[in-house]
Subunit: 378 residues, 2 copies
């Protein structure tokens, strides 16, 4: 293997696949980055037990200033190699591999020789059946991820809840996540897609993926039995799927309510954040919300014998229905409000012990619903 390349473009590729590389792996070769030089260009691969990322630095793209004089492959220690490439002095760099896998890297007056590993020992990436595929715009896909991963469980006791449930049926994509205390659900109409599938994608994979999505480009999602592949331009992102049946969440979102209130999401978020300072300093992380439609008034209170107490008076944009006092974990409310951004939010309550819903006021189709279970304090 022998090639020269524009260093900044090489670094971009290394950064992409490095997201999949962990130093904690028990398989030594996976601490490395795989570099393949072919006629098409330089293909970089990084992988761990859950995700694999592959990207092509295209020889046809003149901006890469890529000149391959000898094809071949090598695996180099990822973290060390990446820090070397980033520190090299010149705009251009060259790499050449000797028969004993020693790799010489040159740039300006600097020369590194790095001990490499035989690339033929690197695991093969999964082959993905291309029957089932969905294409979405990058910004929409990012939005779906951000709106659902917040409700994913981070406890391994029920592994299935650490993923987001993606179901495509009747030209509608439904993404749902719940940690059993709260739920977040997003619907997207896909009128031109007649496919049907039902998978659970690990929340961690989706978070890593969302950092790589370019909001101005499309993302294609391809499914096989136990793997999913996301295609983004020259980059492929593979994730394993979670096995098992996701709990049925279709009956959880209530249709009716007895108290309805409307807030500017950022104003409510600021008040909840202040109240949570106190609940975080006390033993039980709970705050109370008291709604009095007759007085056009909502108060949030928190109390801890050790630390003190807090009271927030809020003026809702609209409020109607019955008086209600309800207790909940402020962190669930914070996550839910943050995911809404700078909009108006409708919160609908049934009783002090039944889950309540948050919906963007503008969202008449109920495409994005969040559900929070209250805490019993009596």
């Amino acid at each position: 293997m022998k090639f020269s390349i524009k260093r900044s473009n090489f670094i971009d590729g290394i950064n992409k696949v490095s997201r999949a590389i962990s130093n904690k792996t028990t398989i030594p070769i996976l601490t490395g980055i795989k570099i393949d030089a072919t006629k098409k260009g330089i293909t970089l691969t990084g992988s761990n037990a859950d995700i694999s990322i592959q990207t092509l630095i295209d020889s046809k793209d003149h901006d890469n200033e890529l000149a391959i004089s000898e094809p071949g492959s090598i695996v180099l220690p990822a973290r060390f190699f990446s820090s070397v490439v980033k520190k090299l002095p010149d705009e251009m760099m060259s790499m050449s591999v000797r028969d004993d896998f020693q790799t010489v890297i040159k740039s300006g007056n600097s020369s590194f020789t790095i001990n490499g590993l035989d690339a033929s020992n690197y695991p093969h990436l999964p082959k993905i059946n291309t029957d089932k595929s969905v294409k979405l715009s990058g910004d929409l896909f990012k939005e779906i991820i951000h709106q659902t991963v917040i409700a994913v469980s981070n406890q391994e006791s029920r592994p299935i809840l650490t993923g987001v449930h993606f179901a495509l049926k009747n030209s509608q994509l439904l993404a749902v996540a719940t940690d059993s205390h709260r739920l977040s659900q997003r619907k997207v109409a896909l009128p031109n897609n007649k496919a049907s599938y039902d998978v659970i994608i690990p929340g961690k994979s989706l978070m890593e993926l969302s950092r790589m999505i370019d909001q101005h480009s499309d993302v294609e999602m391809r499914l096989s039995e136990n793997q999913v592949l996301f295609l983004m331009g020259n980059t492929s992102f593979y994730s394993r799927l979670l096995e098992g049946n996701y709990p049925d969440t279709s009956q959880l979102i209530p249709d009716d309510s007895t108290t309805q209130v409307q807030f500017e999401a950022p104003a409510l978020l600021a008040a909840i954040e202040r109240a949570s300072l106190l609940s975080h300093a006390s033993r039980n992380n709970v705050i109370q919300m008291s709604l009095k439609p007759g007085q056009d008034n909502v108060t949030i209170t928190g109390n801890s014998p050790d630390v003190g107490n807090v009271k927030e008076d809020l003026k809702p944009k609209a409020i109607k229905g019955k008086d209600l006092s309800i207790s909940f974990n402020p962190d669930y409310m914070k996550d839910a409000l943050k995911s809404l951004g700078n909009t108006m939010v409708n919160i609908d309550f049934l009783s002090a012990l039944r889950p309540f819903t948050l919906l963007p006021t503008e969202d008449h189709q109920k495409n994005f619903v969040q559900l929070i279970t209250p805490v019993r304090t009596f």
Copy 2:
């Protein structure tokens, strides 16, 4: 105690004294921030075993919008109180203390009640004798600190070396630090100061202090037997002194040399940083420098059987004397070169086993000298 104040100015004061407050202290009241309201204004105090910081929010400064309706004192849990004040909704805030030390904090529609502690149990700050004092401009004092603390030891086995030795004699201030592998020395002429003293100030205190120094204002340093006080405007910074005799460093800096080389400091730093990537990945953190005045050439090499090797070719700005090959810890060289910034540096060598010196080329008075001990590799 009862007052109202412009919140942003109150936060500035809280941030200043919070630097001295640690949650790890074994004295519970020191996890708190002390607030005193007097005619002069609001005095805030934070303290730990090593340093204490006190700042006055002046009632005469109209920008503070300070209105004290009842003088008094309270101690509040620092971290919680600080996060509450930062999150309050309004530009203004008020505080009032009840008889049971419960403190009510109000801003906009938000109201916190925090359990406080009796301020009379807060330790008194040391009294400082004002006979011995030095006044320096903020930028010069910051420079002296930055140039010396890099060489301070972080090992508690010889506590005296964790400090910087400040000696004032014959109208000259000498600041020296050494961890026994390297030394950094700064001289400053103080023609108008006839005082004489000799103290060792903990390196950690100086680093914390340097973050607070305004480079456009003066710093006054006042000394007592076992404490030093730095006065900066309305803020007082107290530190304990280290007890004991600092080793005599006056004979360590060699007067002569057999090989002299001159570099642009940033170019040499970049090459050393690259070479250190390899030395950090290998077991012994050492690189070699080979100087050949006859060939106008300097090379840096590093070698590790596990990882690989590195070679950097350097073109010095000037070089003369004998051929020399010398080994050293690249981290000491990196620290030394970083402290020099964007200047030319002269490096003078005696032999492969004798310490070598780094001096800014412009510095003909040798006001700032750094010394590095090489590593024996044979």
